[in-house]
């Protein structure tokens, strides 16, 4: 996509180093930049870390220094409906939802794009570490950032052609180290601000306290059994556990136990040893194909089952209703329903879907 100089671009700003540098880079490239900070919902009595008062002050300082207009917009209701409620519902269903995916889809894109349009901007930008390019036939592609520690394409696999055609990622090829250096070069006051954490809306404690206060019925104690079927102890409620978790089980074995399954029907937590073989077949639903076209035949691709996991070779078989069957080349112990499986061919992110263990 080539944009002419002076194009109005709305940058989603968080007061952090990434979005601040994104704004500065775009301004340097001659675009008419407007900063927008979205006010997101947070657990009552706590501050959402994405838009706490100090973050707001920082974003305003950056905007003031760059001499760009800066607006705060309220997205609390939309965020609650699109992100927080599904998060709670997900735990009630026994899965481990990934709220960042919904936030990107509904808030950082749909909501921000509609507001940007009202401000007369067709294009938005964010400080994400990923790259957009157009192939020869005009199709937009999403690519990994070369810095494997920072690549955020996993969280962006939900973007559509329409989204990508209206988005720029100024940090596309930069590493975090380079971005911090750019922030210093631009004398931005946020150069040394620490990276933000995920789960911005649950305050200081962890998500378990938030869920406990929101819906105590999620914490119904039940048995813990091992993969052989032996009862090993009691759990405090399935919502307090996630697959792959080791800490907090309170059960000793010949070696450490890990959570390998949450059986919501039986309200039972299943644990196993590290060498638990896991599985090599699972399914995805709510698939998004970034190209806009659902593949018709099985194909080989790399799969990432978590943000921080490595890419594993697999065969992807598309199924009706935006679903797919994934056959991994080797078993993985921590395939977690509710998280996303994201598909890659080399650096190109093809899309992905939400993990479920059985075919629907």
């Amino acid at each position: 996509m080539t944009l002419s100089k002076g194009t109005r671009i709305v940058v989603g700003m968080s007061g952090g180093v990434d979005s601040s540098v994104a704004a500065a880079l775009l301004q340097d490239q001659g675009y008419e930049v407007t900063g927008v900070m979205l006010r997101l919902w947070s657990d009552p009595g706590t501050l959402n870390r994405c838009c706490a008062p100090d973050a707001l002050v920082e974003a305003r300082r950056v905007a003031g220094q760059l001499e760009i207009p800066f607006y705060t917009m309220d997205a609390q209701d939309a965020f609650y409906q699109a992100v927080v409620q599904p998060f709670i519902n997900g735990y009630a269903k026994g899965i481990t939802p990934n709220p960042c995916l919904q936030c990107n889809r509904m808030i950082r894109w749909q909501f921000l794009l509609s507001r940007a349009q009202a401000l007369g901007a067709e294009i938005i930008a964010t400080g994400h570490y990923a790259k957009i390019q157009q192939s020869a036939d005009g199709v937009y592609q999403l690519l990994m950032n070369p810095d494997p520690e920072k690549d955020q394409s996993y969280f962006l696999h939900i973007l559509t052609q329409e989204n990508l055609s209206r988005t720029v990622f100024p940090l596309a090829d930069y590493s975090k180290k380079e971005v911090r250096q750019l922030a210093r070069d631009y004398s931005l006051p946020v150069a040394e601000r620490p990276d933000s954490q995920d789960l911005c809306f649950v305050g200081q404690g962890d998500y378990r306290n938030f869920l406990k206060q929101t819906d105590p019925s999620l914490f119904k104690p039940g048995p813990i059994r091992d993969t052989e079927g032996n009862i090993k102890g009691k759990h405090t409620g399935l919502a307090a556990y996630t697959i792959g978790q080791r800490k907090g089980l309170g059960i000793s074995g010949v070696e450490p136990y890990y959570v390998v399954e949450k059986d919501i029907q039986e309200n039972t937590l299943v644990i196993g040893y590290k060498n638990f073989p896991g599985r090599d077949v699972f399914f995805t639903e709510q698939n998004n194909w970034i190209s806009g076209t659902t593949p018709e035949t099985p194909f080989k691709a790399g799969v990432k089952i978590r943000y921080k996991s490595r890419v594993v070779p697999a065969t992807i078989t598309p199924l009706p209703d935006n679903q797919a069957k994934i056959n991994l080349s080797s078993r993985l112990p921590d395939i977690t329903p509710g998280q996303a499986a994201v598909f890659y061919q080399d650096q190109i992110c093809l899309g992905g879907g939400i993990i479920r263990l059985e075919e629907s």
Binding site: R39, P69, M73, D74, D77, S114, A118, L119
Partner: protein, 386 residues
């Protein structure tokens, strides 16, 4: 970014003549008015001249003018000062205000209630924001410390019948305060004809500098000071007087009196042009506050059903026009204005508020440009909100 300013109720630029009047008091006549020497005497002369000018233009005596740092401080001094003095003197324990006061009154009354045990009650207002004079008497009590009703509302422009309210308070021997910060920027108050005991003024609403205000205190109205220390301002407000800003305020206030009619003649048709256009051209729109003669001459305020008022202000800013949604809100908090809610507007209307306020130098061409983009901007603020 905005290039045309239509938010004069928020603040105004300082008049060049005011800047010129202040100039000598920064570098040359910089003395402390309390000092005995020549430097001090010159500064004191400027201070007292300013007090005389302000008094003259209110029909008051210079002994009745206290300079403060802003309208909000004047409100604080009026409310706290009178409440405490009347409690001490006559055991007063009750404060009567309107429900659509500026936060400087509302929050001060809240604190007097929460921390000092005063009882606060509210006068009823109608859908336009007018206090009902006929029933006022029923709300006055033996232990009422004071009544405070703003002369002109900042959000909706409504002018209240302060003359009549003052008469009733006088008959009942209860001090009457009015926040005239918006009102006095346009309209005349003569305390020899209107029974007001305390009046708050702020200079930056009438082309004076920010950081200076005044409180008129009718002789015989007792106050306990809020800022204690030196004996400046008749012992009612300790602090070295900010001479340049006070000189600027007096000059700006004098200009309001001298040019008041010219400004009114300029503003009224422009204001009415906006109101008539909006009500006839933009569907699901309503004027908020008083009509015609009973609203500020530079003030047009609306609600648009189903629009996001904050977004509308941002859309207008991006299109080059600086307006307000009524009360300043930069944090993106979507609470509807308490004033509009109190007047009975449901949230889907109250959240879509817009305030357009004009200045003496606003041109008809600017208004035409503004009206040319307003319907589309409202449309955008409605669409994005869906």
């Amino acid at each position: 970014m905005s290039t045309i300013y239509l938010d004069y109720a928020a603040t105004t630029p300082v008049d060049e003549r005011v800047v010129a009047a202040m100039q000598p008091y920064f570098l040359n006549t910089f003395g402390n008015p309390s000092s005995l020497h020549r430097f001090g005497q010159q500064a004191e002369f400027a201070l007292e001249e300013s007090r005389r000018i302000l008094a003259e233009n209110l029909g008051a005596s210079p002994l009745e003018i206290i300079f403060t740092s802003c309208g909000s401080e004047s409100d604080n001094l009026a409310l706290r000062g009178t409440a405490f003095a009347r409690r001490e003197k006559v055991g007063a324990n009750h404060i009567l205000i309107s429900p659509i006061e500026h936060p400087a009154i509302q929050a001060t009354a809240d604190q007097l209630a929460a921390v000092y045990g005063f009882e606060v009650s509210y006068l009823p207002v109608d859908q336009f924001g007018f206090v009902d004079v006929k029933t006022l008497k029923n709300y006055l009590r033996e232990d009422t410390a004071l009544v405070s009703v703003m002369a002109a509302n900042n959000e909706i422009g409504t002018l209240n019948p302060i003359h009549d309210i003052g008469e009733i308070c006088k008959e009942n021997d209860i001090p009457f305060h009015t926040d005239a910060v918006q009102y006095a920027a346009h309209l005349n108050i003569d305390v020899s004809k209107t029974q007001v005991d305390l009046i708050s003024l702020g200079a930056h609403k009438f082309y004076g500098p920010k950081g200076v205000g005044a409180l008129y205190v009718r002789t015989g109205t007792e106050l306990i000071p809020v800022l204690t220390g030196g004996s400046q301002e008749y012992g009612l407000r300790a602090a070295t007087e900010n001479v340049p800003l006070i000189v600027g305020m007096a000059k700006a206030f004098q200009l309001v009196r001298e040019e008041g009619q010219t400004r009114l003649d300029h503003l009224l048709p422009l204001r009415d042009k906006i109101i008539n256009f909006v009500l006839s051209e933009i569907p699901a729109s309503q004027l908020t506050g008083g009509q015609h003669q009973s609203r500020l001459p530079n003030h047009a305020s609306f609600v648009f059903e189903g629009a996001d008022g904050n977004l509308l202000v941002q859309v207008l800013d991006a299109a080059g026009f600086a307006c307000s949604s009524g009360s300043a809100c930069k944090t993106g908090d979507p609470k509807p204005s308490s004033v509009l809610t109190h007047l009975g507007f449901p949230p889907e209307w109250a959240l879509g508020s817009l305030r357009v306020t004009l200045g003496k130098d606003t041109s008809e061409k600017e208004i035409d440009q503004f009206l040319a983009i307003l319907p589309e901007s409202v449309q955008r603020a409605r669409k994005a909100n869906k």
